[in-house]
Structure formats: C-alpha cells, structure tokens
Point group: C2
Chain length 352, copies 2
C-alpha cells in the first residue's frame, strides 16, 4: 500500500521552493519575494526586518518625516491599453509614497536602455512620464541613463525612486490595523493585470480591458481630510488584493474577514480570469487602494472617497477581527468561508 501524500512536502506548481537560483516567482511580490527579502537581502544588508516592512520607508530629516520608496518597472509590452511603462513608473512610485500618507515631492528616473531601441519609442515613454508627473504634482528631479548591449534589456527598464513629505499627525502603517477596523477598496480590481496580459498575448474579451494606472495622491489627500487617523493604506499591485490583505493581517497580527461578493470585479475582468484560470483577487492593480479605517470614521471616509473621481466606486468589503490572527478569510457567494492565502510566486509575470 502506498503512503498518503504529504501536502507539506509538495513543491508544485513551479517555481519550486528548494532552489539555488533566481526564479521568475522571486519577482512576483508573493511568498517567494518575501523569502528573498527576509532570508537573503536583510541578513546581507545587516538590516533588521522591522525597519523595512512597508512600501515606503520613513526617514527622519530634522523636523520632517520623509517617505522614501523605489520601484523598477520591467512591464512587457511597453505600451498597453490604458497606459505605458512611463505612466506606470511615475504612478507606481507616487502611489507607494501616498500609501504612507506622504505628499509626493520629487522623483528620480533611472533608465536602462537596450542598444537599438527606437528613440521615438523612448520619447513617447518619457513624455508619458512627464505628463504623469505633472498630473501627480511631483518633480522629476534627477536621472541616469545606462545602455546595455542589444538583447540584454527587452527594450527598456525604468527605476523611479520618490521622496514625499508626511504631514504632521499622520501615522499610517500596516501594524496599526486594529480589530473592528473596516476594509475599504477604492474601486474595481484586476484591470491592470488583465490589460497587460491581454495585450501581450493578443487576447480579446469583448470589451477592451484598460489598465487602471493612476496617481492616488489626490484621493489620499481627501481621505486624510475626512479622517486624519487612517490606520493602513496599501495599493494592491503585484499579488493583488489578496496579497495586500494577507500582508496587513500578518504585520498587525489581526484577522481579516471580507465578503467576496462585495469586491468589485468588472465583468470583463471576471470573464478573462475565468478563461485564463486566474483569481481576480491575485491580479495586479495600479490605480486602486485598500484602506483600513477606524469603524467610527468609515462613513466619513467612504463619503469622501465616493465624491472623488478616483474613488467613485469605493466600497466597504470587510472588517478586522481578533479571531484567527494573521489569517484572511473570504465569505464566498455560497455563504462558505475560505482562507485566502498569499500566492507563492507570480501569477502574471512582468506586469509592472
């Protein structure tokens, strides 16, 4: 008689866990990315984990608290319905600053260009960056360009790093999530990932799915006017809504329960996910946020959001609980509760 399989030893699906080389999933923002940071980068850098848990670091400069955040963009293709790598590179970093409650001030841009890239393509991308920076009110202050040999960069990669000022009295951090708090999502999810994927693979789903890429600084400003004491903000990019909720639950040691049917999933995203075998909760967004807010302020924050063009479809999807600390559950359309977990690696690679 054969032994029963031991789920704990499963290493499937790819990428495998027990490796000595970089796999695509290490860049996916899921569990493998987290392990790379915790097990390799932090020990090598000599940094303690508590310093680096957020999208943006907080730096004290004299009297000022400054948010500081970096992201490299390797999205393929460079242009997709609703945006380009240029807009994404500005909005993504602006949003990481906004998720610390910071007002974006300045941004750097570091280009790695592939020899042979059309200068016209580069100019279009740079123009998209200029427009996005103007829209977000951030100054493109310093830059750098490197060129690598043909074949070694897939057109271009862009790094942007931003600094922003955190207003006095604002203390937004994953660890501040508290049982009783409500979970708000600012709008429909899954559009960015599906837009990039469909462009890359030449797929069509009736209605065109367009990326939601947008700067969130302005929306965050009206939310902070409604409630200075927002506990957590997070933009659910790589790994999607599920990953962000799991990370918050783990950081704060609280449970999160949400209604799966309350999460706004556009029909065309649902159709695409169903066709491709994807979970919309794991698909990347680039112009949405999750807010964890004190119960007593929920109505005020929601009202401020729905009055703003970037938060018109904001909804409360759930609440935090002291039961099952660190665990996220979703109530399904059938009324059952299921555990929502971090994806291992990358459901859709090279999405940002």
């Amino acid at each position: 008689m054969s032994e029963a399989p031991d789920p704990g030893s499963w290493a499937c699906p790819l990428p495998i866990r027990d490796h000595d080389r970089v796999v695509i999933g290490h860049g996916g923002g899921g569990r493998l990315s987290g392990e790379l940071v915790a097990d390799l980068f932090l020990p090598a850098f000599g940094v303690t984990p508590s310093e680096v848990l957020h999208d943006a670091a907080t730096i004290d400069l004299g009297e000022q608290r400054v948010a500081f955040s970096t992201d490299s963009y390797v999205v393929r293709p460079l242009f997709f319905p609703g945006g380009s790598i240029g807009e994404l590179a500005v909005n993504g970093t602006v949003n990481d600053l906004s998720m610390a409650g910071a007002v974006p001030i300045a941004m750097s841009s570091g280009f790695i260009l592939e020899e042979g890239l059309s200068l016209e393509v580069l100019a279009r991308v740079a123009t998209d960056m200029g427009k996005a920076a103007q829209r977000a009110g951030v100054r493109l202050a310093t830059g750098d360009t490197k060129v690598v040999d043909s074949g070694l960069a897939d057109g271009m990669y862009i790094n942007t790093t931003g600094i922003g000022l955190i207003p006095e009295g604002v203390h937004i951090a994953p660890t501040r999530a508290t049982p009783g708090d409500r979970v708000i999502v600012s709008g429909p999810i899954g559009q960015h990932g599906i837009a990039v994927m469909s462009q890359r693979e030449g797929l069509q789903f009736g209605t065109e799915v367009r990326s939601d890429t947008a700067p969130l600084a302005d929306l965050v400003a009206v939310m902070l006017e409604a409630c200075r004491d927002l506990h957590v903000l997070r933009d659910p990019t790589r790994g999607g809504l599920a990953t962000s909720l799991c990370e918050i639950a783990e950081a704060a040691g609280v449970g999160i329960d949400f209604e799966e049917t309350a999460v706004p999933v556009p029909p065309e995203v649902a159709a695409a996910c169903s066709l491709l075998g994807l979970d919309p909760l794991h698909v990347a967004n680039e112009g949405r946020l999750i807010a964890i807010v004190p119960e007593s302020s929920t109505d005020d924050v929601l009202a401020a959001m729905t009055a703003h063009p970037d938060g018109r479809e904001a909804v409360v999807i759930g609440a935090l609980t002291e039961n099952h600390p660190g665990v996220v559950t979703a109530r399904t359309a059938f009324g059952a509760r299921r555990i929502v977990d971090l994806p291992l690696g990358e459901q859709l690679p090279r999405i940002c």
Copy 2:
C-alpha cells in the same frame, strides 16, 4: 579635383551621430549622453535644463536642503579586482551625494535579476552592499526586486538612489567655478576602468590594476572643515577626468588649464592605456574626486586631503582662467597646450 573634407560633417568613429535608435554611446556619460538628456528627456519631462545639471539634485524640504541622486549599475563582469557591482552601487551613489557636499542619510536599492542567476552570487553582491553602506554610514532603507526572463539582464542590474543632508553654509555647484580657483585631484586616476576592462577581457599588465571604488563622504567632510566654501566637487566616473573638467568649464563659462604631467597616472594604468589605445583622462574612476577651490584656501584643503587616507596623493593640477571660457586645455609633457574635449560616446562600455 576632389573637395577638401569638411570636419564638421564627419560622423566617425562609431557611434554615428545621426541616428534614430539608442546606441551604446548614449550611456557613456559623454556628448551623446548629454544630447539625449537635453534633446529628449528634458523636453519630454517638461523640465528646464538649469534644474538638472548636477550629479545630485537639490530639494528644499522645509528648512532642510536635501541632495537626491540616482544611478543604475550595469557593470560587466559583476566582480572585478578591487570590487563588485554591489560596492560600486553603494559607493557611486554615496559619492554623487558627497559631490553636493551632502551627508548621505538613506539609500534605496532596486534589483533587476535575471532568471537563473545563482542565489549565492546575489548574496555575495548584497553582502558587499551591506558592508559598503556600513562603511559610508548610509542606511539601506527601502528596496525592490524584479525578475526578468533568462537572457534579458546579464545577471543583474542594480539601481541605487540616495538622499543626503546638505549642511548649512555649503553651496557646491558647477556654476560656482571662478577664474583663479585651483583644481585639485584627490589621487591616481584610471584604475577603476582599467580594472574592469582587464578582468572582462582577460588582460594582464604585470602589476594587477585594482578598482579604486570607495566612498568619498568622509574625505569631503574633512575638506569642508578646512574650507566651508568649496566651489565645485565632482567624481570623475564615466568619461573620466577630461569629461568632468569640460562639464565644469561649460557650466560656469570659465576656462580650465591644467598640467598633464601633474595628473597622477599609475604606471600600470599608463601601460594598459598605451596598449589599448585609451586616454587615461577619459577612463572612469569610482573613488576619486576633483575639487575646484578658491585660491586662498588651496593649501588648507590640500593639507586636509593629504592627511586623510583617501586623499593621500592629492595634488593641484591646474587653475581656472577667464581666457577661453568653456574650454579646457592641457599643457603636455613637451610644453605645448592642447584642447581637451568631451568624448563622443563610450570609450569603455558597461564600466559602472
């Protein structure tokens, strides 16, 4: 009879000027890099040139003046005599901040990793970064990791972006160069470029040439103690000493005259350059600086530098003049004066 050639129409040697695609020289830090910034990035970003002439931008945050600088590192190979891409990535950005007179505070690290890269190699690079950051007194505060498909990144690329505090009373800028000022070089030149080149090409020149990669923040601190009014600092990386002097002359509209024989070129660097047909004045350095100082403070600054381990071999190589504004000349070993110009593109590609 054929017409005389018109030097103005020459487009040789490669890379050619009249192109619609990115060439390797666009990343070389020379004239082509400058044209890409001036003709493509600045118009696209909607930024005026005066805002972005230095290695580091200056940002006003309340009472504080903050230096902000970014660089991507694509050096090949990842390890070379005297250093690695990891050390380079920390020191290079620390040095850009130091060249604004700023005290480095925090740094971001953005990794673009190639699928299949050995995690052991990544750990060695990250450890080098951690040690270099500790040596330079800078905090590795935030990071990001992306993974691209095998074949699309040559192992890894690293972006680092740094922020530093500019002390009160310090105003270092290329435009402050003034006729009468003296030019100091902090030590022997050309070692970094030759070290990387010889490792890459498997060349040997009797004595091993090791990279000079080092953080310059501490040396700059003792220089500022000797003279708060340093006019210009510049680390002659891509494009070498010649490029830095040309850029300063152009930015300030002054002439610079220096003695070619006063420039410290180690014999093994001279031998390698002679063999490879390179000009040591154009070879990259990663642990050297040029200082433009008021004549009256020259002795004090030089004394402070030569008393410091990173400036032991500092020498005065020339002076600024109101003659020939924007032009740099070198007096050769034979007593003749020659004009020193910006290189067009990249003498040694992928050097940092």
